[in-house]
Every structure is written in structure tokens, then in C-alpha cells.
């Protein structure tokens, strides 16, 4: 590439369907910024999203974008990476997509550790279906499906991922673009499965976890002087603290990726020559004589 691309080069002409003020705008713009700063080009980016307000993000990033069924972004993205390891693979979805209907895949993607990035855009509600409780909604959250208050405890996604063997865990806030761009860049550069949970307020349905609430209830882990993001115990501690939510890189470690362990060929599988008449293939039947 002769000239560096700018965030605009990652924009599509499709008008957004998000509400004015939605936190998801901040996620999209940080992602475009991160990709441009990393020197990525749209043709080599595969972007897979789930269903929900957040899932619409794939329509707004100029790339090879895939908007699949609810909860299954991670299996799709994992396979895209296996099929062509040269691609930059990013998946994105909401708290419902990742921690409810797709929770099984979430655990298994974490443990497989493919070299890809997963952005969870957490608004703590089901926005597109008009404001039901989500797996990250606070207990007691009152909605149409939980008129007497949500009886379920919220999922602590990063702590779950840490226990499951996550190799890069970070949390950002969509209203803090500088931090978010930095986290996304680190995540994309990380060799392995990088999870970035972004607090992305729903201005229409979530009247509790608002921008103001997040400003009040978050802090940077780096504010803790002794915080060591390679220390699993430190990570458990801040993730399980009932107080404010930690932002920043919570945990990172090196572990072989799925691609390294899956005996992939040197070239992307997409480039493997298919020759049905090779003598090698023909010889397989000798084992059945």
C-alpha cells in the first residue's frame, strides 16, 4: 500500500439504523480508526456480526462483512480464520448475542484461541426487541419481560473468559474513543483470541446504565499502580470486585493459537490446489483392497 488508509476508507455508504446517541457509534468509529492506524486494508478484513442492534455494525464497515444468525458469529469467524489465516478476522455482537444465545460458542472460542478479535458491545439490555433484560442486566432491572425486576444475576463475561483460558481480555467504554482505539489495536495485534468488552449505552431503553452512570462507575486498571495485566490473580480480583468496573487491558498471556495447533498448511487453505486426479489421492483406496 502506497498510502496509509484513513478511517473513512473503512466506511460504507449505508446509512446507520442506530438511534442518535447510541453507544455503538463510538465502537464503529474506534474500530475504523484502529484498522486504519494498523495499516489494514478492507479486502483483507473479514468482519462477522451477530443479531441485534450491535449486529448491524457489519453493514457499516467496508470489508468482507458477514451478518449471520443470532449468537453464531464466533463459529463463523473461527472458520473464516482457519480457511484463510492471512485475513484479519473480527467478530462483533451484543451482550445477548455473546453471553446468552451464543454463550456456548463464546466459551469454546476462548478455549480454542483462534487469532481473531471479538468485540462485545454491551448495553445491558435487548435494544432491538425494545428493551427486555439481557444477560448483563443488573438484578432487579425492570422490563416488559421482567415487570417485577430481573431475577437473574448478571454474567461477568470477562471473568468467565479468564476462567476459560482467555488470552487477551480488555474492557472499553464507547464514550472514551482514545482508550478504545488503543484497546482494539492491541487486541487485533494480539496473537490469539482477543476479547474486548465495550460498555455501549442504549440511550433508548436502558435508563440505568447511562453515559453518566458509566463515567461514575468505571476506572482504568492502570490507575492501580501495582496492576499487572499478565497476572491472573490481579485480573480475577478486579473483575470480581463489586465496586467500579475496570477499564483497560485486564489480562493478557501468550498461548499457541488454534491455527498453530490445527496443523494448517503453510498457505491459506483457500490457496490449496485441488487436483482430484493426483496419484496421492488415488492411492488412498489401496488401504481398502
Amino acid at each position: 500500500m502506497a498510502t496509509m488508509l484513513t478511517p473513512k476508507d473503512f466506511a460504507t455508504a449505508t446509512p446507520s439504523w442506530w438511534c442518535a446517541g447510541c453507544g455503538d457509534y463510538g465502537v464503529l468509529s474506534a474500530l475504523k480508526q484502529a484498522l486504519a492506524e494498523l495499516g489494514k486494508v478492507p479486502k483483507d478484513v473479514a468482519f462477522v456480526s451477530g443479531i441485534g442492534c450491535s449486529g448491524k455494525i457489519s453493514g457499516y464497515l467496508h470489508s468482507y462483512a458477514f451478518h449471520g444468525v443470532h449468537g453464531r458469529a464466533l463459529p463463523v469467524a473461527t472458520a473464516v480464520k482457519l480457511a484463510n489465516r492471512d485475513l484479519t478476522v473480527i467478530a462483533a455482537g451484543g451482550d445477548g448475542d455473546g453471553y446468552a444465545i451464543g454463550a456456548g460458542h463464546f466459551l469454546h472460542a476462548v478455549r480454542r484461541n483462534p487469532n481473531m478479535t471479538y468485540i462485545i458491545m454491551d448495553n445491558q439490555t435487548y435494544g432491538l426487541t425494545k428493551g427486555q433484560s439481557s444477560p448483563t442486566s443488573q438484578a432487579g432491572y425492570v422490563t416488559g419481560t421482567s415487570p417485577q425486576g430481573n431475577p437473574d444475576a448478571p454474567i461477568n463475561g470477562l471473568a468467565v473468559a479468564l476462567a476459560a483460558g482467555g488470552t487477551f481480555l480488555a474492557r472499553g467504554f464507547s464514550a472514551q474513543p482514545k482508550l478504545l482505539v488503543d484497546l482494539l489495536k492491541q487486541a487485533i495485534l494480539h496473537e490469539g483470541f482477543s476479547l474486548v468488552e465495550v460498555m455501549s449505552p442504549c440511550v433508548t431503553y436502558n435508563k440505568i446504565n447511562t453515559y453518566a452512570w458509566f463515567k461514575e462507575n468505571t476506572y482504568y486498571v492502570t490507575e492501580k499502580e501495582t496492576y499487572d495485566s499478565t497476572n491472573r490473580m490481579h485480573a480475577f480480583e478486579v473483575l470480581n470486585d463489586d465496586g467500579k468496573l475496570p477499564l483497560g487491558v485486564i489480562f493478557q498471556e501468550a498461548r499457541p493459537t488454534l491455527e498453530a495447533l490445527a496443523h494448517l498448511p503453510e498457505l491459506p487453505i483457500t490457496q490449496v490446489t485441488l487436483d482430484p486426479h493426483s496419484s496421492d489421492l488415488n492411492a488412498i483406496q489401496d488401504a481398502y483392497v
Binding site: A46, G59, Y64, A79, P276
Partner: protein, 588 residues
């Protein structure tokens, strides 16, 4: 004396090694130049429970079980009690009488009984209970005239990786079996003999292995699956071979992940497949709709077993046809093909990937436990018959803005770029979209896009596997069926023909889009039509009616107890109904 035509049933408790010995018997029959078909009838558990392995050998291929069992090798009374009614009069039973006695009321007097203390010989004489199977093999071989050298060669081949000692004790076990027969039963011949033919350059292969092999040769380089009987063999086969040819397999966390992985890999440009059975197929349904609307080529192998729910996981059935054709919310183009033999399993599997790529839609390979887990002899596979056609796949740069991933075309198929191609960036959305992939709810676009996608069903027709006509094409009696029933139907036809009853049989190899013209033409001037299938509701028969309308002369021949047809079960209803119509006499 019955020569070169025998069905052996090897029955005992699961986990006692009878499957290995069943394979050995099949191998020896093949080596002796006979055509072999095997059928595994085992319980869905690892240890215990009655299991049996049917090995059929003859001078011509049969692809199915016979009417009767000729020789039963029973390691316990349960095996005798379960199968004594299936014995051919004049057949024989080898019974291990170490610890059980066959009660008089069970002991049919029209079969020959060879009671051998197999368990005691194994434990006491040879010191290893495990070799019971090999002793039985030796005795069986001596009774029916298996080539003793072939028996020894195959036993050595199977056990050599376990070391010389294991080979040695198994060879001694064969001798013990043979000697017992010559010492005690020299005066009671079994009535069966095998004469060695020529073992040409043939293979013996299981249906699922042929599907794996055909897929690999057909260019499949990605497979994701979740273990499920009777489909797991395909994933195991690919896991062994695909990496040697630049491919990869994933054991997914569930079928939802498996099918979405297949879609992801294919979106990226790699020929991809999964294999599952009914319960997994049900879970995959939503994502198959996604592949349909995104026009992503995928191949899904359905190894059918009995349903509903868990059903009988290791038993055969053809009750998933409706599910493959009609399941899913919304409407998508899809193709369902079904092989009738192990050999056809190979070629259809390879072809499935071309169909998927050319028409950018899900392609199902429908097979059943009775075929996919059965072994059969077959000629060497001819790889030169396989070619790879990736359809309208685009790997060269395109002009962004001009290129439309879902372009409206006459045949409904749009040029398909893969990630990494300059200029081809687009959104592939499960939501309705325009030709460029932009989500839209515009009514005109919706109608046009539906028509474009569904048009591919018609475009595909000339490419689809054609039905095969077996028997006398002018016969008044018409039979229709598919898959594993090819074998028993063809055999029933031969037997009916020898009684002077001519029949023709249309073996459907494509079930969707339904071959309307061929089926209509085939049954048009038939006096009576029989639709043979393994289910309760007559799913294929209903499909045919759906196409041709109500037809009084059409009859269902159904079986849904978990086991495949024996030819007599097809012959009898045809004879009965034909006699009622006075047909049999007219045709004699």
C-alpha cells in the same frame, strides 16, 4: 448344497470383539472372490447388549440382507433367541455351550446345531477369553469352506500391530476351531460351500468412508462436525486424511457451531462440509436457511437413523426426507441427493461439491445407517471421473461499486468473490438485501430476490444425478425407492422375474428438486406402483402424490422397525396385491 451364497450372523454382547471378527469374515469372503455386504446391528452402548454383525456373500453384488440368515454364530442364548426365527430352513447355528443350554422349544429341528464350548476352549485351552471370536471364525471357516490360508492371512493382518504374541494365539485359536469341527462334526456337513473365485482388483469399503473419500477427492478441505451416530465416521475419516491434503477438520462444540463453521469456511472460499444425523440436522436447520439466503455453497451429509428425538441411534430409517426438504423457516433453494451403493456414495459425494458451488446453495447427501455403516465390495474407484467446477467463483480483482455479490442473473447464480479479492468488499447479510448486499425491505426487491434465488432450482436440474431404471423398463409393475433400499429392491426384482413377474424400479438419486418429469413418466402407464421406504408415513409416496396427484394404483411398502428390508418383505406385498389384481397370472 448351497455354493457361494451365504449370510452369516455373528451375534453376542457388544464390546466382545464380534465387530472385528465380522470384518475379518467379510475380508476373507472378499479375498475368495465373492461380493460382500455387511450390516451392523448393534446397540447404542459400548459394552453389553445384544449386538450382531451380518455378513453376506455371493457371486453377485447384493447391497442388502437376504431373506434369511444361513449361519448364526451365537455366543450366548440371547443371540439364539433373538434370531432363531430369521434362520433359513437348512441353515446352521454355531452355539457356544460353555455356560448355557439351548432349551428344546428354541432348538428348531430344521437347522443344524454345532455346539462348541468356545468360551472354555478360549479360557482353559488357550488362556485368553478374548480369542473366542477367532475360535468361532476357525470353526465357521471349516464348516463352510473358507480358504484356511486366507483366514490366516487376514487374522495376521488385523492383529500384527498388537504384536507377534497376539498373532500367534489367534492363529492357534483358528486351529482350535478348525480341529473341533473336524473331530466332532465330520459327519454333519453344514450344507454350504464356498468355491474360490478370482479376487479382482476390488475394494471393500464402508459407505461413510466412501463419502469422506469422495468429498476429499471432490475438493473438500474443511469439515466441522459434532460426533453423532451414525455419521461420526465421516468426520473421523476426514480428520485422518484432510490434513495431508491441506485441509482441516474441527470437532465443534455442537451442531449449531458445526454448521456455522462450514458456512464461514465456505464464505471464505474453501469447499466445506459437515455430517450429522437427525437430531443434529434439526439443530442445523436455522443456519441452513442462512446459507440459502447468503447463497453460500455447503454440503451436509445426513446419515439417517431412527427418530424422533433420540429414537434408536444405531438403527436405520428413512424418516428424515421431509425434514431435509421442508424444514426451515422461509424458502430457499436446496438440493437433496441420495446414493444407493457404497460406490455411488463416493461419486455423489464428489459431485455434491460441484453442485453446491455451481448453484451456491446447500446440498444434502442423504444416506441411511443401513448403507453408510455397511461395508460392501466394489470395483476400484475411478478418480478420473471426478472433476472440479467451482462455478462462478471470482478470485481476480473486481471493480468496487460495479461488482454486485447478489447480481440478478438469468440462471439466478451470481458471481461470488471471496475475502481477499480486491474490490469485492460487501456485506453478506441474513436479512433480505439488494444485489449489492445492502439490507432492504423494499417490496419489489424482495420479490425479485426471491425469484432469483429460487430460479437456481430450475437451473440446477440438468446437472442433478439422474434416476436409474432397474429391471424391465416395459414392465407393468413399477417400483420407486432410493438409498439403501436399492439393494433389497433389486434383489426382489430378480426373484420376481424368475417367477415370471416383470418389474421396473426407478431408483431416485435426486430427491429435491423433485424429479417430477421422470417420476410422472415412469409411473404413467404402470398398472400398479409400489413405493418402498423405511418410515411410517410414506414420505416419498406423499412426495410423489404431491407431484402427480392422488393415484389409486399406488401402494406403500413400508418398514419402520429400525432394520433394513429383506427382499421377501418387498416381494410379498407385490405378489399379494398383484394377485388381487390378477396381474401375476397375466404376466407369467
Amino acid at each position: 448344497m448351497i455354493v457361494n451364497n451365504i449370510e452369516i450372523m455373528f451375534g453376542g454382547q457388544a464390546g466382545d470383539g464380534s465387530l472385528t471378527t465380522g470384518d475379518l469374515i467379510a475380508g476373507v469372503f472378499k479375498r475368495m472372490g465373492l461380493e460382500v455386504y455387511t450390516y451392523k446391528d448393534f446397540p447404542s452402548r459400548i459394552r453389553g447388549g445384544h449386538t450382531n454383525y451380518v455378513i453376506r456373500a455371493g457371486e453377485r453384488p447384493n447391497y442388502g440382507m437376504a431373506d434369511f440368515v444361513d449361519g448364526l454364530v451365537a455366543f450366548d442364548l440371547e443371540a439364539v433367541e433373538a434370531h432363531i426365527e430369521e434362520m433359513r430352513p437348512g441353515g446352521f447355528v454355531i452355539f457356544d455351550n460353555t455356560s448355557e443350554v439351548v432349551p428344546e422349544h428354541v432348538k428348531r429341528d430344521d437347522v443344524t446345531w454345532y455346539e462348541i464350548p468356545i468360551g472354555r476352549m478360549a479360557k482353559v485351552d488357550l488362556g485368553l477369553e478374548l480369542v473366542r471370536n477367532t475360535i468361532a471364525l476357525g470353526a465357521l471357516g471349516a464348516l463352510i469352506g473358507m480358504d484356511p490360508q486366507a483366514v490366516r492371512t487376514d487374522v495376521t493382518g488385523v492383529y500384527k500391530r498388537k504384536g507377534e504374541k497376539v498373532v500367534d494365539i489367534n492363529i492357534r485359536a483358528i486351529e482350535a476351531g478348525e480341529n473341533f469341527v473336524s473331530e466332532h462334526f465330520a459327519q454333519t456337513p453344514s450344507g454350504y460351500a464356498l468355491r474360490a473365485g478370482i479376487d479382482g482388483d476390488r475394494l471393500i469399503m464402508m459407505g461413510n468412508d466412501a463419502i469422506g473419500y469422495g468429498s476429499l477427492v471432490g475438493g473438500c478441505r474443511f469439515m466441522a462436525g459434532y460426533p453423532i451416530t451414525p455419521a461420526t465416521d465421516v468426520l473421523e475419516w476426514m480428520a485422518k486424511y484432510a490434513p495431508r491434503y491441506g485441509g482441516v477438520t474441527v470437532q465443534a462444540e455442537d451442531e449449531l457451531a458445526a454448521i456455522n463453521m462450514v458456512i464461514g469456511a465456505s464464505f471464505t472460499g474453501v469447499r466445506s462440509m459437515t455430517a450429522t444425523s437427525g437430531p443434529g440436522q434439526a439443530l442445523m436447520t436455522e443456519a441452513i436457511g442462512l446459507a440459502g439466503v447468503l447463497e453460500i455453497p455447503i454440503v451436509v451429509v445426513e446419515c439417517a437413523r431412527t427418530g424422533p428425538s433420540t429414537g434408536m441411534p444405531t438403527k436405520t430409517e428413512q424418516s428424515n426426507l421431509n425434514h431435509l426438504i421442508f424444514s426451515g423457516h422461509g424458502e430457499i433453494p436446496k438440493i437433496v441427493i441420495s446414493p444407493g451403493t457404497v460406490e455411488d456414495s463416493f461419486y455423489l459425494a464428489a459431485q455434491a461439491f460441484n453442485l453446491a458451488d455451481k448453484y451456491q446453495c446447500p446440498v444434502f447427501i442423504l444416506t441411511e445407517q443401513a448403507l453408510c455403516q455397511s461395508k460392501a465390495t466394489l470395483p476400484r474407484l475411478d478418480l478420473s471421473r471426478v472433476h472440479i467446477d467451482r462455478g462462478k467463483m471470482v478470485t481476480e480483482p473486481v471493480v468496487f461499486g460495479e461488482y454486485k455479490r447478489f447480481a440478478f442473473t438469468d440462471d439466478g447464480v451470481s458471481p461470488r468473490v471471496i475475502p481477499g479479492v480486491e474490490g469485492g468488499m460487501h456485506l453478506a447479510p441474513g436479512s433480505e438485501h439488494n444485489d449489492a448486499g445492502v439490507i432492504t425491505e423494499n417490496t419489489k426487491n424482495r420479490a425479485r430476490m426471491m425469484e432469483k434465488r429460487m430460479r437456481k432450482m430450475e437451473s440446477a436440474r440438468p446437472d442433478l444425478p439422474t434416476p436409474l431404471v432397474h429391471g424391465d423398463p416395459r414392465a407393468e409393475i413399477a417400483i420407486l425407492g432410493y438409498g439403501a433400499n436399492r439393494g433389497p429392491i433389486c434383489e426382489a426384482q430378480d426373484r420376481l422375474a424368475s417367477q415370471g413377474v416383470a418389474t421396473r424400479f426407478l431408483e431416485l438419486r435426486t430427491l429435491w428438486p423433485f424429479p417430477e418429469d421422470e417420476v410422472r413418466e415412469f409411473i404413467e402407464n404402470a398398472t400398479s406402483v409400489y413405493v418402498v421406504e423405511n418410515n411410517y408415513t410414506g414420505q416419498l409416496e406423499r412426495l410423489i402424490r404431491y407431484v402427480v396427484g392422488p393415484l389409486e394404483r399406488m401402494h406403500r411398502v413400508l418398514k419402520y422397525n429400525g432394520r433394513p428390508f429383506r427382499p421377501i418383505e418387498i416381494i410379498e406385498p407385490i405378489e399379494r396385491l398383484s394377485a388381487l389384481r390378477g396381474l401375476t397370472g397375466a404376466q407369467r
